[in-house]
């Protein structure tokens, strides 16, 4: 399988901090379902932030389908490589306004805007069937908000989905549903890279990525 994302000799440290990645090499095959593991503070979230260009490597380069990141427009890259934060972030407004947020951005002008029925069925699939599309998003619980954020990103159908502990604030039943939805999204031409602390490893996991002491190790 060709690589969808490749790190070449990448080093990164936060200002004044120790190196999070130290000349790291990594090649993520297209269509891989990668579970990222590592001790707390090892740099798992930082790796995802580097992959969606919310951080820049100090050294080395990252490539998306063999194109170096700096040669791509940031909006085009982030449309292909989408990141869902660990803590849910929503703009003031209704659930519907939050779900439709990406379609107001110029870079997404060619994506068809989903109708009410599609929004409803996406929420239902994430066990949010009791939430009205016209409810204020600020009234949702953390778990509900987290699922709403996941739904919002999934609907833009990115090539690579980066998830930072998507089930951290969910009970066991909701977590199971989230895994099922992610697994449905996952296919041979879509890649999922997810940080996980939980024991459960999704059935479709193809690779395990370990980060420790600035090094990355990908195993099948």
């Amino acid at each position: 399988m060709p690589s969808v994302i490749r790190l070449e000799d990448v080093s990164f440290a936060y200002p004044g901090g120790r190196p999070v990645l130290d000349h790291a090499e990594l090649s993520i095959p297209q269509g891989a379902y990668v579970v990222v593991r590592g001790p707390s503070g090892a740099g798992k979230s930082t790796l995802l932030r580097l992959l969606c260009r919310l951080e820049e490597p100090e050294f080395g380069r990252i490539l998306f389908r063999e194109t170096p990141y700096p040669d791509m427009k940031p909006t085009a890259l982030r449309r292909s490589v989408a990141y869902v934060h660990q803590t849910p972030n929503m703009v003031p407004g209704t659930v519907r306004e939050n779900l439709l947020l990406p379609y107001g951005f110029r870079a997404n002008a060619d994506i068809p805007v989903p109708d009410g029925e599609s929004l409803r069925s996406m929420l239902d699939s994430l066990l949010l069937d009791d939430i009205s599309l016209d409810a204020e998003a600020s009234g949702l619980s953390v778990g509900q908000a987290q699922r709403l954020c996941l739904a919002r990103t999934l609907m833009t159908v990115p090539d690579v989905l980066l998830l930072d502990e998507p089930t951290a604030s969910l009970d066991a039943d909701s977590a199971e549903v989230v895994y099922e939805v992610i697994e449905r999204f996952f296919s041979s031409d879509r890649t999922v890279i997810t940080i996980s602390h939980s024991e459960r490893e999704p059935a479709q996991t193809t690779h395990r990525l370990t980060i420790a002491e600035g090094r990355t190790e990908l195993s099948s």
Partner: protein
């Protein structure tokens, strides 16, 4: 009405030190620790104003465009330096964009007021251009500082929200649309508020100065109206320009917010 200005002699000026001593006594009595600042402030104010008095006398006597524009440039550069000091904690370089926004907005408004509205000939007539431009620089400087402070603090506070929108395909501008509007509003509000209070709550310095110099109050108010309106324009243009120019520096080439929480 007499048009004779009563001169203030040196001993009368010295007598004014009593006012500072009153403030000094309050500082001592309540242990405010302001004694040194009061002393330095008083010495600086006296020295700076005397220096400016002599510079103005010299420039008025020369009656040439170059020194007038030079003085305007120095005032603008000093204002840009002071603004930079107010926002230096944010680690975003602001000196050049601030100077440019001030130079463009203040220069344009000063030229329109002196050359077109007041109709002084030539437009750089020092007796008109320097005091009016000085008022614009002095008053609008805080508008630009307020806009920058608001923009930086909001970008820092809402970083997660901005990042989330960037991850959904937004450009930096799309992800922080509301922040720029808030910053421009913060800069413009004080000059709009002063339109509400003028003549009722306070008599502005320029009008007071003209009346003290023996001018007809009805002429003074016309000048004051011009000044108030030109300040509204200068703060609006300055705030819009500075937020637009500095905003680009708040994001890296990859569209990543550079201000960390």
């Amino acid at each position: 009405m007499s048009t004779q200005v009563i001169d203030i002699g040196l001993w009368q000026l010295t007598l004014c030190l009593v006012f500072v001593l009153t403030a000094g006594a309050a500082s001592l009595w309540y242990r405010l620790g302001l004694g040194k600042d009061l002393l330095v402030g008083t010495v600086r104010a006296v020295a700076q104003l005397f220096a400016m008095g002599y510079v103005l006398k010299f420039v008025f006597a020369l009656d040439m465009a170059g020194p007038v524009i030079g003085l305007f440039l120095i005032m603008t550069a000093t204002a840009a330096h002071l603004v930079r000091g107010r926002v230096k904690g944010y680690a975003v370089p602001v000196a050049i964009p601030t100077f440019l926004s001030m130079f463009i907005s203040y220069g344009l408004v000063s030229f329109l007021v002196v050359g077109v509205i007041v109709g002084a000939k030539p437009w750089w007539t020092p007796q008109y251009f320097i005091p009016l431009a000085g008022m614009i620089v002095g008053n609008s400087m805080s508008a630009i500082a307020l806009s920058l402070e608001r923009m930086f603090s909001e970008l820092k506070a809402r970083r997660q929200l901005i990042e989330m929108q960037l991850c959904l395909g937004a450009t930096p501008y799309e992800a922080s649309r509301g922040i720029m509007a808030d910053a421009i509003r913060a800069g413009m509000i004080p000059s709009i508020n002063s339109l509400m209070g003028v003549g009722l709550v306070f008599l502005p310095g320029m009008m007071t100065g003209q009346i003290l110099a023996g001018a007809d109050p009805l002429v003074s108010i016309r000048y004051q109206i011009v000044v108030m309106l030109m300040l509204v324009a200068a703060t609006a243009i300055g705030s819009v320009l500075v937020t637009r120019l500095v905003f680009r520096r708040c994001f890296s080439a990859s569209g990543r917010p550079v201000l960390r929480g």
